[in-house]
Amino acid sequence: MAEPFRSFTSKVVPLHAENVDTDQVVPARYLKITDKAGLAEVLFRDWRFNEDGTLKDPPFVLDQPGMAGRNFLLVGDNFGTGSSREHAPWALQAWGIRAVISTGFADIFRGNALKNGVVPVVVDPATHARLFTMIDANPDAELTFDLAEQGILLPDGTTIDFDIDPFAKLMLIRGTDEMGYLLDKLPAIEAWESAHPGRVDTRPEAAATG
């Protein structure tokens, strides 16, 4: 499926906003697609564009000079709340984001992101503040992301360590996905099911009438 996740070096997109919900990442009116096309263009759509489709003035951070192609998103506390839409990590990934750094992530977003080559990196509040100060002072600072070592190397030579679910890490490094793993487990699933009959039958003919 996916490509193996490799280390990368990139500048950072800083986004000073807390509790960013997935309705901001991809507004609901763009969820009428039946594929994954065009999502990079609608990433943070309503923070980037005016009613008439022109860019905001001053432009939103993604549209500022030199931001295109950056792979890190540094964002305020508790990113990805709200809707379960996987369109959010799809859009981030399509734009080029490969790691999001915050003090916390909503549970569903975290799981969705990891399945799409976008690594949610949780840092403590002091480190978070230090990163923002550093990027605000030097917007072109380059960071190096090392998944195997679970570290982000800063220009001053120090490293920020981060935690990641070991299973998710393995999937990313191998470029495989959970579906493959589950399909390999079908014998165990079959055995379990034969001992545990279904609890409900959704078919209309199974419904009691009257």
Partner: protein
């Protein structure tokens, strides 16, 4: 078994979890069996595409059920879709369900409706189950003592193919609600008060279990309102242990067990409540007697205050990041720090959604609106949560009350909760809404949302401004209006 002393005491969540563990490899997440998978048009198309690409089938179509709710118009059903993309998406769901043999309650089916309204209504949602859907408000089904949570589209594909999911065991969070609610204060106010207290990230990594006398006193529909918004408190799921209220709601529903199977099921369900002595990772106590009607003023559901309260001042926020977030929210909402929320002008009132679009919600609204008229400056939309709720409301004559009051009575769907179907605010408009999210643009680009209960919404529609439902005539009687 709960009476079996050889096990350490367990919580409701732990019992359900343990009963669904298929396998666990060292270092890997648990393979968790899924009893019921709900599907809707917005988060499923790419999952079906994935199945086709891999040459897979749906493992248990008879444990899967679909409906079209998010992008469907709520104009009369005979009218065509105005939006070709929405039409194509609903058509795609139809094609996918046909091809993979999944029962679909689509447009025109008497059981169509919001996915979290129809599951319980059909008796598909039952205690002790694991239930998932590509939708964060799947937490609603926790009202029945089911472990129910939202998943992403990749996970939808995995559940379709294997009827299982890879999950890490969640932590548990006890939410005890003591005391008795005052007239005019309801389930919506309990959950908004909880989220205002713990914040939108308060429950991250946890599953709520709501308990206590105020929870026990609630009907099933009120319990659903509370569990529905667990996700707004950061918890993927929120459960309430099943009891006689649960069983009475379920008995006789189309997909509930019948005859001897019913007795067997009830006997099992009675073993589910948390054992005495079981512990939670976190706990909070809320005094229901002290609650007022709640309303949000900001751009996330944690920004809520008692209705008699004042909009907070960013300058007084202790933490700078928090102050900045508040400032941004108030700028978007165009509200002034320290202003009262009561009396704030309103353009639109929306009653509906999987939070408050059930028959008892509509009965409350009707009790408030009977013999009254919606203010001239207000557009009021009332959208039933399902086709069945619509029929029931019409059989009770509620639609007549709504129309006579000057409100719009529409077809079932998500409607202005998510504003995907053309039902939306204009930029700058204010709405009092019984839905669950007040995010920027959630109800239409540039729209501003005050989340509140159906009673507060109805009182505000009449007044044309945010209004206190406790001042409605006959509020004591209206508060006694029950339901299931």
């Amino acid at each position: 078994m709960s009476g079996d002393r050889s096990f350490p005491p367990r919580t409701l969540v732990e019992k359900i979890w343990d009963a669904h563990v298929v396998a666990e490899d060292p270092g890997a997440p648990t393979i968790l069996a899924v009893d019921l998978h709900l599907v809707h048009e917005v988060t499923s198309p790419q999952a079906f595409t994935g199945l086709r690409q891999r040459g897979l089938t749906v493992r248990h179509p008879e444990r899967t059920v679909a409906t079209a709710d998010h992008s469907v118009p709520t104009t009369p059903r005979g009218l065509p879709f105005l939006d070709p993309m929405a039409a194509a998406q609903v058509q795609q769901l139809d094609t996918n369900c046909r091809e993979f043999g999944i029962p679909l309650h689509g447009i025109g089916d008497p059981s169509q409706g919001i996915v979290h309204v129809i599951g319980p209504q059909l008796g598909l949602t039952q205690p002790g189950m694991t239930i998932v859907c590509g939708d964060s408000h799947t937490s609603t089904h926790g009202a029945f003592g089911a472990l129910a949570f939202g998943i992403g589209t990749s996970e939808v594909e995995m559940v379709l193919a294997t009827q299982t999911l890879l999950q890490r065991r969640p932590m548990t969070y006890e939410v005890r609600v003591d005391g008795t609610l005052a007239p005019g204060v309801g389930a919506k106010d309990i959950i908004l008060a909880l989220i205002a207290r713990i914040g939108v990230a308060g429950g991250t990594g946890h599953v709520f279990e709501y308990r206590g006398e105020a929870i026990r006193a609630l009907t099933m529909e009120q319990r659903m309102t509370i569990c529905n918004m667990s996700i707004e408190g950061g918890a993927r799921a929120g459960l309430i242990a099943p009891d006689e209220t649960t069983f009475a709601y379920l008995k006789g529903r189309p997909h509930a067990p019948q005859g001897a199977a019913w007795d067997e099921a009830v006997a099992y369900w009675r073993t589910l409540p948390t054992d005495e002595g079981a512990t939670y990772d976190k706990s909070i106590v809320i005094d229901a007697s002290a609650l007022e009607p709640m309303v949000t003023y900001g751009t996330n559901p944690g920004m809520g205050i008692p209705i008699s309260g004042r909009v907070p001042d960013p300058a007084a926020a202790g933490d700078p990041a928090h102050g900045r977030a508040l400032e941004k929210a108030l700028a978007y909402m165009d509200l002034t720090p320290g202003q009262a929320i009561l009396g704030q002008a309103v353009d639109v009132v929306f009653i509906g959604s999987c939070t408050n679009g059930r028959i008892s919600d509509l009965r409350l609204a009707a009790a408030a609106l009977k013999g009254q008229h919606v203010a001239d400056t207000v557009r009021m939309m009332i959208v039933p949560g399902s086709d069945e709720v619509k029929r029931e409301a019409e059989a009770e004559g509620l639609d007549e009350i709504f129309r006579a009051a000057g409100a719009e009575w529409r077809e079932a769907g998500c409607s202005m909760c998510i504003a995907m179907n053309g039902d939306q605010l204009k930029p700058g408009q204010y709405a009092v809404s019984t839905s669950n999210r007040n995010f920027e643009g959630r109800q239409g680009k540039g729209g501003r949302t005050f989340l509140a209960s159906p009673l507060t919404a109805a009182a505000s529609a009449i007044a044309g401004v945010v209004a206190d439902p406790r001042l409605l005539p006959g509020i004591e009687a209206a508060s006694g209006i029950g339901g299931r």
